[in-house]
């Protein structure tokens, strides 16, 4: 049994040699007594450590037995080893903390300034980090997403039939394969109302494989995931609390999902909010059950060429991703042999499971890169600002530092001391920044909760984890070094000569002649800040102009007076055959209301996904893929799409009359050679041996945005609903005489009066829908403008403080010159002039660099070129005006001082 030598080493390292010797001796003596006692080796060693650390905590990092460095100025040290070095650093930190506490103002400004810079970077990083986080509420270890790679899409899905094959195969490297179908809506009938919920359909092993905890009841099991199983669902914690009041009786109760009874077998834990960031599911249903209802009229369950649910897998303990990929690929190759696909082989990719889909990450990559650059720019600005401040403070401490140097502190030691202080400042700033970063990141994420005709966009959730914390610490350290290195290098070379000749002058603090190299460094910092401010301002100008361009897009229909509502009759007992008549009656009923100018029905509302169909155009050999819509007579008039030629649909265009279509201008231009398309034919290829169906073009309407508000106009073919197939779900579109926002609750009330079981998926004014499409531009405008304004404020205050300092240092000189008759303005002009030169240099450099940075953000721009004279001009003017004020105001103050007073105070 030997005492722990590490404890002895720590004692020797951190404690004065005398005390360490006494302690080690006493401890070893006592330890040797333990050998003969009943105290075991482990307990004896623990005792030893406890006692040793007790000595360290009392005597550690101090010099001498008393712990007081009486009569010795701080920072001086006896020659010693690492222990003394660490002791010096920690002592320095202690003193810095004491100084901060005594004069908080000294620390407040640099800390807050740095915190703003660090929080912007950390906030953006938090947002970027969310892309690689697994979904909450699960045990994330070894979770991977399985994708099918095709030419056009690295993140595709396999068919449901393939998924079942993968799931049932023997894959040693995997614990299991689960599948999830996301993004369906269903109606749930409650006692007094019917509502829409969104859900996910999952394979039976989903809950156990992901280790999802349950707040009540149980998760779904493979037993539930059979066609013949009794229908079971799990609901979300939020839905349980909101709709069922968190009642324990909820588990085991029955709900009507699309009019079919399901038993609620469990409630998911609060943390689990589904496996996809784009939806907050309220219900989870077994995939097989889902297939019965939703895939009944399609061949998704059997057609291997149709994309199916997404696959998630978990690695077996000890297995590697490569091994799993190899095994899965082998199975895929077997499937290729047995059931080859039309569009190529089954290429598999395995990626770490993320809550946010990788395609979203890639789509946002350019924006997030630029956001990060802007944030880093702000951080650099903040660092330059604080560095300038610290330079000035270093001047004020020159006496103290000179004294330290005189009694033996080496430049290296002084440098370390000063850097340590800056590090403490920046770490404090980092701590403050962490508080600010999460709200910032959440704000960025909140833009995703944008309205659409579907209504279920959710905010992007961001949370901080260890990576974010480490990033903040790292950035703080870098910021501390950046801000501190120049002032520390300057400050650690005290001029003892200064002391000798300075006398009372130096003691007064930094009133040595300003003709040192220092103003050069300060002016350089000013230029740097101005350059960054210009770059940020121009970026902001560009995104603001983009937002303006986006706002000016002509939708081609009446957005301002139109309300879109999307509903489902699936739980109302309206049969498919009755649907046409039902909606016709509904539209007529609404048209009778005083606040409705016109009402219409469409299979797809404007600015929502529309079906692409393969159609053959008269005079062309090959079919083309075209966006199609199904509308009733009165649609174009209701939404305000103008007629270009021919006619709109009429009530006479029914299933008994010749098939007709209306096309838009872009369709006519692209496929009919710019000549009139009226009277020409559009053919829908027949299915399974049936003849092609021809439709005559009876009308051409002006272009209107059909799917994407920001995209160019595309060719569109409008079918008359009564003549064409239906699709489930319908849009009721109203043109209102009142403010559409006020119309929404009236719409809901009226629908409930018609039939309380009618499910309203969403209702909102088109102004909101359009706003939803603009969310990226609005978000960018907010972020970049905030950053630019902050940058401008930092640059302005930096310039202001430098000017104040410079003028302040010249007070004596001004006093003397004024006393001998010089005009105040003549004295100030060169000072202000030098500052403005620094500003001009900075602005010029910033303009040059912005030509490059503007091209980097080209992907964010819409309707504006990267080199935009308006943005550049406006930003430059604003900056110059602000800089002028920031340099003139302190100078003006100095002009007012009575020269005699200024001389007297010397």
């Amino acid at each position: 049994m030997t005492p722990p030598s590490l404890a002895d080493r720590i004692l020797r390292l951190l404690v004065h040699p005398e005390i360490a010797g006494d302690a080690i001796g006493d401890l070893r003596e006592e330890y040797s007594r333990f050998k003969t006692s009943e105290l075991g080796g482990l307990r004896a060693n623990m005792w030893y450590w406890r006692q040793a650390l007790g000595v360290v905590s009392r005597y550690g990092l101090r010099r001498g037995r008393s712990g007081q460095s009486e009569g010795m100025p701080p920072g001086s040290v006896r020659p010693g080893g690492l222990g003394d070095e660490i002791a010096a650093v920690i002592d320095g930190l202690r003193q810095t903390m004491r100084r901060f506490i005594k004069t908080p103002g000294f620390a407040a400004l640099p800390v807050i300034t740095l915190a703003l810079g660090i929080s912007a970077s950390t906030g953006v990083f938090t947002y970027i980090n969310s892309f690689s986080q697994p979904f909450p509420g699960v045990d994330g270890g070894g979770l991977l997403d399985l994708y099918r790679v095709t030419d056009g899409n690295p993140y595709g899905s396999f068919s449901y039939a393939d998924v079942l094959d993968f799931a049932s195969a023997e894959i040693g490297a995997l614990e299991g394969v689960a599948a999830v179908q996301t993004g369906w809506a269903a109606s749930i009938r409650h006692e007094h109302m019917t509502e829409v919920v969104f859900g996910q359909a999952v394979s039976g092993n989903f809950f156990p494989l992901f280790g999802i905890e349950m707040a009540a009841g149980r998760g779904l099991t493979p037993e539930d995931d059979r066609r013949e199983a009794s229908p079971a669902v799990v609901i979300s914690h939020q839905y349980w609390q909101g709709r069922f009041g968190g009642a324990s009786s909820t588990v085991g109760s029955t709900i009507l999902l699309n009019n079919n009874p399901y038993t609620i077998v469990g409630v998911a834990s609060r943390d689990f909010v589904g496996s996809s960031a784009s939806v907050r599911p309220e219900v989870w249903m077994p995939l097989e059950q889902y297939g019965i209802v939703y895939w009944a009229r399609s061949d998704i369950a059997t057609n291997r060429n149709r994309a199916g649910p997404q696959m998630h897998v978990r690695l077996s303990r000890g297995a590697s991703r490569n091994r799993a990929l190899a095994e899965i690929s082998a199975i895929a190759a077997g499937l290729d042999a047995d059931a080859p696909l039309e569009n190529g082989t089954r290429e598999v990719s395995l990626l770490p499971a993320t809550w946010i889909h990788p395609s979203a990450r890639e789509a946002e990559a350019p924006t997030t890169r630029i956001m990060l650059l802007a944030a880093v720019g702000l951080l650099l600005l903040a660092c330059a600002n604080v560095a300038n401040l610290l330079l000035s403070i270093a001047r004020g401490r020159s006496h103290e530092i000179a004294v330290r140097a005189a009694i033996g502190a080496s430049p290296g030691r002084l440098l370390r001391q000063l850097l340590t202080e800056n590090l403490l400042l920046s770490l404090l700033a980092g701590a403050l920044a962490l508080l600010l970063a999460n709200p910032l990141a959440s704000r960025i994420g909140s833009y995703f909760a944008r309205p659409s005709v579907w209504g279920y966009n959710v905010p992007r959730e961001v949370s901080m984890d260890l990576r974010v914390f480490l990033f903040a610490v790292g950035i703080s350290v870098i910021a501390g070094l950046l801000t501190g290195i120049v002032p520390a290098v300057r400050g650690s070379r005290p001029l003892v000569e200064e002391l000798k000749e300075g006398g009372e002058r130096s003691v007064g603090g930094g009133k040595v002649s300003g003709r040192r190299r220092l103003p050069g460094m300060r002016n350089l910092m000013v230029s740097a800040q101005m350059a960054v401010a210009v770059i940020l301002a121009i970026l902001s100008g560009l995104v603001l102009r983009t937002l303006d361009s986006v706002r000016r897009i002509e939708p081609g229909f009446d957005v301002d007076h139109t309300v879109a509502s999307f509903m489902s009759t699936s739980s109302s007992g309206v049969t498919v055959e009755e649907r046409q008549g039902f909606y016709r009656e509904l539209a007529l009923r609404f048209e009778g209301l005083s606040w409705v100018r016109a009402a219409t029905v469409a299979a797809q509302a404007p600015l929502s996904p529309h079906r692409q169909r393969e159609l053959r155009i008269d005079g062309q050999a090959d079919p083309v893929s075209v966006t199609t819509a199904q509308v009733v007579p009165g649609f174009f008039e209701t939404v305000g799409i103008e007629l270009g030629a021919g006619r709109f649909f009429a009530l006479s265009d029914t299933s008994g009359t010749p098939d007709v279509v209306v096309i838009n201008r872009t369709m006519e231009r692209r496929y009919f050679g710019g000549r009139s398309a009226l009277g020409r034919q559009v053919w829908q290829p027949g299915q399974e041996g049936e003849p092609d169906r021809g439709f005559e073009v009876v009308g051409v309407v002006e272009d209107a945005k059909v799917r994407d508000f920001l995209a160019d106009h595309e060719p569109v073919v409008y079918f008359s609903y009564p003549q064409h197939d239906y699709t489930p779900g319908n849009a009721l579109i109203l043109s209102t005489t009142i403010d559409p926002r006020a119309a929404v609750p009236l719409l809901e009330r009226e629908l409930r009066a018609v039939d309380p079981t009618l499910v309203l998926v969403n209702a909102l004014p088109y102004t909101e829908v359009v706003r939803g499409f603009q969310f990226i531009q609005r978000r960018n405008a907010e972020i970049f403008t905030a950053v630019a304004l902050l940058g401008l404020a930092l640059a302005a205050t930096g310039l202001f403080s430098v000017m104040s300092l410079t003028v302040g240092q010249r007070t004596r000189e001004i006093g003397i010159r004024m006393a001998i008759g010089a005009h105040r303005r003549e004295i100030i002009r060169p000072v202000v002039g030098r500052a403005l030169v620094a500003v001009a240099v900075g602005v010029g450099a910033g303009l040059a660099i912005s030509l490059v940075t503007a091209r980097m953000i080209q992907s964010l721009l819409f309707g504006v070129e990267p080199v935009d004279p308006v943005s550049i001009g406006a930003s430059t003017v604003v900056l110059l005006v602000v800089a002028l004020l920031a340099s003139y105001l302190p100078a003006r103050r100095a002009l007012r001082v009575d020269p005699v007073v200024s001389l007297r105070t010397e």
């Binding site: 080690i24 001796g25 006493d26 003596e29 007790g54 005597y59 008393s66």
Partner: protein
């Protein structure tokens, strides 16, 4: 009495321990004595701190013995109570006796309503 001459409770215990130990008083034995006799757990660090403080006040003095192989070659640092230290202890004792005079804890409990 001059301010600063009052002894804290732990300081009194350490001085008493030294008196009890006679010539064998050093850091670890003082700690042992406190645990064994006063039933007061103390870390070595706190004992050292108190001994240093007492030495600064002149109430104890210390000297080093020869290096001891049992102690890894480190000599013991012995402490002894000085005359001033004894005086301070006596004063504390008398002060406590004066305060205790007339105080009967058990009687007070019963006489409380």
């Amino acid at each position: 009495m001059a301010k600063g001459r009052h002894l804290g409770e732990f300081e009194q215990l350490v001085l008493l321990a030294l008196l009890r130990l006679g010539e064998e008083g050093y850091g670890m034995t003082v700690r042992r004595e406190l645990e064994g006799t006063a039933k007061r757990k103390a870390t070595l660090g706190s004992v050292y701190g108190t001994l240093d403080r007492l030495e600064e006040k002149g109430l104890v003095c210390s000297w080093r013995a020869d290096p001891d192989p049992l102690r890894g070659g480190h000599p013991r640092r012995y402490f002894q109570v000085t005359a001033e230290g004894e005086l301070a202890l006596r004063r504390s004792q008398r002060m406590m006796e004066r305060m205790w005079d007339g105080v009967d804890l058990s009687a007070d409990e019963e006489s409380k309503p």
